[in-house]
């Protein structure tokens, strides 16, 4: 299983998205995003914004990073703390 997390405004668009997806070979964040497009087109459009960063097991990675079983994948909009 791969755990999916959506922070900030992305969380509003991700309502109804399953918190976990099945792991399979050759999975990447880009493929996971595209997989979400069928049922959640608005979320997919938000995830495609250039400012959105992704982290894999809490490390910032690129969209083509391999995603393995047991990973935690988070989608991060621009931060606004402080």
């Amino acid at each position: 299983m791969i755990k999916l997390l959506f922070f900030g405004r992305l969380g509003d668009f991700a309502e109804g998205v399953a918190p976990n997806i099945e792991a399979r070979a050759d999975l990447t964040p880009a493929k996971i995003r595209d997989q979400l497009a069928a049922d959640h087109p608005a979320l997919c459009a938000e995830l495609s914004q250039p400012q959105v960063l992704i982290s894999l097991n809490q490390m910032i990675v690129g969209w083509e990073q391999p995603v393995f079983d047991g990973a935690e994948l988070a989608f991060l909009p621009p931060v606004t703390g402080g």
């Binding site: 405004r9 969380g11 809490q58 909009p77 931060v79 703390g81 402080g82």
Partner: protein
């Protein structure tokens, strides 16, 4: 250098944090503290409350990186970062950065750099309630520019 990084829902006591920094080492000649507050306005409209979300685990790691960078660049004795999460009201304290150093220049610059990086790197997100309508705060170009000045100086 003694770092202290805390993410908490409860308020903090500026005086107590100052004393903790002051007691670290008698070599300290300067303590700079910064406290950020919740403004009552967002885009010229008053707010009822602010809710802060963060990414537990990752936020602490990112703050540690920011603190480590400051410790490598300036001569520091202590560096405290406190960030509150959860629901806050106008005038509430939201963030604290305190730096103890032998000399004031290091303390001033380190405190400003930590705040600038915190605002653009640390995984916090603000949601405001304005007249019952909730919306996420947009990031600011001015914050990104502020953090970039610490990289272009080198």
């Amino acid at each position: 250098m003694k770092p202290s990084i805390r993410i908490q829902t409860e308020d903090f006591d500026l005086g107590a944090e100052y004393q903790l920094l002051r007691q670290l080492d008698a070599a300290s000649g300067a303590i700079v503290t910064f406290t950020g507050l919740v403004r009552d306005l967002e885009k010229d409209s008053s707010i009822n409350s602010l809710t802060l979300q963060h990414y537990p685990g990752m936020t602490e790691s990112l703050l540690q990186e920011i603190v480590d960078q400051a410790a490598a660049r300036w001569d520091l004795i202590g560096l405290t970062v406190i960030h509150r999460v959860g629901k806050l009201l106008p005038s509430d304290q939201i963030v604290f950065v305190g730096v103890a150093s032998q000399h004031r220049a290091d303390a001033f610059e380190a405190a400003q750099s930590v705040m600038d990086y915190l605002k653009t790197k640390a995984t916090f997100w603000k949601k405001v309630d304005q007249d019952g309508q909730q919306h996420w705060v947009e990031s600011k170009d001015s914050d990104r520019a502020a953090s970039q000045r610490w990289t272009t100086d080198d």
